[in-house]
């Protein structure tokens, strides 16, 4: 039994990683197609553009969730007793949900953007029927059910081993300075808690909108609906990075030879992030329907800065552990270090976005996709790629070939430049979510497409190579 814990990634995690790799690649291609359409380099109809945008948005968010879960499951399983059945059950719900979502989008024509903001889904204007919207929302609901099972299992296992969430978060350690839980357990506990809540809230709003779809007399308050959807969406997407960052905590020490020790500030930071998510979001939601401006802005700032404590601590600890260590560089370790810088860089535009004046101007421009592409692409996805590569190399450091080096650089530079183009477009007031761009914006979209192609090609090289490593030993066994 105990041997298994030291064994390389077991079946479910491999399947998760493989699916994540393939889907990330596919969704990146969708993204490239969208950007090229905006640059008028492809003759795609607007309705297809919006279908692609909906698929890209929900697909990326869901797969970041799945990839993050793979990281969390894999490493958390080294400390607590997780039962593989739940990982498979989650996957089954996930895939069924995905089939429904894709059916709703590409067969039913649903294209209300992944945030399915009320009352858009019910107003297809002939583009989609209510069954398409129902398939989409039902699919998202199923994905949520699977994830709920997954997190309940991790909650159970954590409580079984550590007694309670309070201990798993390290609160006793703050007092006594003894028995700190591992970083992985702290992070997993935070994610488990906030995602259970996010999923419950998501379930409420999705069911509500499904009811509204079939019983239109029962109207939903649009502002409340929007707040709920954003709460669910923001918490969920933020938590993908909290799961993925576990890869940094677990893998980086293998390269530097320095263990990732848990200090009090680290415990404080995770608890603070958790607390910020749990208190401020619902607060800003339960307030009166007619939201005053200051509350809106507060909510925005907090939603963007809630990850700051964790980020700051992770960044300093990473720098500390690399500094003057004889870190061995290979693709995995390079991607990990890149991801920490990507995540940090992504926070800068987020904070700018959160501040009042800018928020007014940039709110609906490409600035917004700019900031989240920066930290999701260079942070979250990069961590997932590092993890995929790590298990492909059987959890050992490997060589760093010239091809790998060049692919890493192409990826880093083009991803950064790609996100920068979004930010620059945002500054030039190019609106987000427009299929057809005005002539004066074309240059932005075309240059961005070039970088997007760079991302796609380098990511493809990395993923295909890792895929080989993941699949091959399974065949032999």
């Amino acid at each position: 039994m105990n041997m298994q814990k030291e064994m390389p990634a077991v079946g479910a995690v491999k399947v998760y990683a493989a699916i994540s790799g393939v889907v990330i690649l596919l969704m990146m291609v969708f993204g490239l197609v969208m950007r090229m359409t905006q640059g008028q380099m492809l003759p795609i109809e607007p309705n297809v553009f919006y279908q692609l945008m909906t698929a890209h948005g929900i697909g990326m968010v869901a797969i970041a969730g799945l990839g993050g879960s793979a990281v969390m499951w894999h490493f958390l399983g080294k400390y607590v007793n997780l039962r593989a059945g739940f990982a498979w059950a989650n996957l089954a719900f996930f895939l069924t949900g995905v089939v429904l979502v894709l059916g709703g989008i590409f067969l039913g024509g649903f294209a209300a953007a992944w945030t399915f903001l009320y009352p858009l889904p019910a107003n297809g204007m002939g583009q989609w029927g209510k069954h398409a919207a129902a398939a989409y929302m039902g699919g998202v609901l199923l994905v949520g059910v699977g994830m709920l099972l997954f997190y309940l299992e991790s909650a159970r296992a954590i409580i079984q081993k550590y007694g309670s969430f309070a201990r798993a978060l390290g609160w006793h350690f703050l007092k006594s300075g003894q028995d700190a839980p591992p970083a992985t357990v702290i992070a997993s506990t935070v994610v488990t808690l906030i995602n259970i809540i996010a999923i419950l809230i998501g379930a409420v709003i999705l069911t509500m909108m499904l009811v509204n779809l079939y019983v239109p007399e029962i109207a939903i308050h649009p502002l409340l609906a929007k707040n709920l959807i954003f709460l669910f969406g923001h918490v969920f997407i933020n938590s993908t990075i909290y799961m993925a960052v576990i890869a940094v905590y677990e893998i980086l020490p293998k390269y530097t030879g320095r263990p990732w020790n848990v200090y009090k500030p680290f415990v404080w930071a995770w608890s603070a992030t958790c607390l910020m998510v749990l208190t401020v979001y619902p607060h800003h939601l339960l307030m009166d329907y007619a939201q005053p401006l200051w509350m809106h802005i507060m909510g925005q700032i907090v939603s963007y800065t809630s990850s700051l404590p964790v980020l700051a601590l992770t960044l300093t600890a990473t720098l500390g552990s690399i500094y003057r260590s004889n870190i061995k560089w290979d693709l995995t370790s390079a991607l990990l270090v890149l991801s920490i810088f990507g995540w940090s860089a992504g926070v800068i535009p987020a904070v700018i976005d959160g501040t009042i004046a800018v928020n007014q101007v940039m709110h609906n421009t490409l600035w917004v996709p700019g900031h989240f592409h920066l930290y999701l692409l260079l942070g979250c996805v990069t961590m997932i790629l590092a993890f995929t590569n790590w298990i492909a190399n059987k959890e050992k450091a490997a060589g760093f070939s010239g091809l790998e080096k060049s692919m890493l650089w192409v990826f880093a530079i083009s991803a950064f430049a790609y996100a920068l183009m979004f930010l620059l477009s945002g500054q030039a007031s190019v609106p987000r979510r427009w299929a057809v761009h005005l002539p004066e914006w074309l240059a932005y979209s075309q240059i961005a497409s070039l970088f997007a192609a760079g991302v796609v090609i380098s990511a493809m090289a990395i993923i295909v190579r890792a895929m080989g490593g993941i699949i091959r030993p399974a065949r032999q066994a």
Binding site: V211, Y214, V215, E217, I218
Partner: protein
């Protein structure tokens, strides 16, 4: 294994019951069920004795067939401060529309009070005046025998419950009766205009 069997049985039972009560997942409320039921079954107007605002008594069903018009019916009580006002102004607009288009010979409006204890013909007459109702377009009536009220309300799918302040709460809908004396449709009170076109415009 047995647990799985038991779970499946419960699940099937649950889905079956839910399906049954929601009419195949199409409706959640009694009001919806009622409307669907009326437009499917098209029950006939009961032969109940009504009294109009001039104190004249008539048999409901027979009267509809005699008049040979489309009838739009709502249910009200004159003391109402809320819903019935909305229904009233809806009927006023309909009345105007009917006169404008000269549809008097094809469509008639009928407001039935479910508060016969208070709304006697004199009260109804006054209310009609207040509403500027034209007698040849818009009739007010109530039941002659209070015991027949239940049957009438049931056929038309109207629930009336006394509130705690001497008034009533009731569902507001316009019920369309064909010249044959059958109930054909139930609509909300802001969608009647297009239906007027549909029912009368075709011939």
């Amino acid at each position: 294994m047995r647990t799985a069997a038991a779970s499946v049985i419960f699940l099937v039972l649950g889905i079956w019951a839910t399906c049954a009560i929601t009419g195949g997942f199409e409706l959640l409320t009694t009001e919806q069920a009622r409307r669907l039921d009326i437009s499917r079954k098209q029950p006939a107007v009961p032969e109940i004795r009504l009294i109009d605002q001039s104190g004249q008594a008539f048999h409901f069903g027979a009267w509809v067939r005699e008049e040979n018009k489309f009838l739009i019916v709502d249910f009200i009580y004159t003391n109402c401060q809320s819903l019935c006002r909305a229904l009233g102004s809806e009927f006023q607009q309909l009345q105007q529309r009917i006169v404008e288009r000269g549809l008097q010979s094809r469509v008639h409006l009928l407001s039935v009070s479910f508060d016969p204890a208070h709304d006697n013909p004199a009260v109804l007459q006054q209310y009609a005046g207040h509403m500027q109702a034209m007698p040849d377009v818009w009739t007010f009536a109530t039941v002659g025998d209070a015991r027949e009220l239940d049957a009438l309300l049931r056929t038309f799918g109207v629930t009336v419950i006394p509130d705690r302040m001497g008034g009533f709460q009731h569902n507001a809908a316009l019920i369309w009766v064909a010249p044959s004396g059958k109930l054909v449709r139930v609509t909300d009170f802001d969608s009647s205009d297009s239906l007027l076109d549909e029912l009368t415009g075709s011939n």
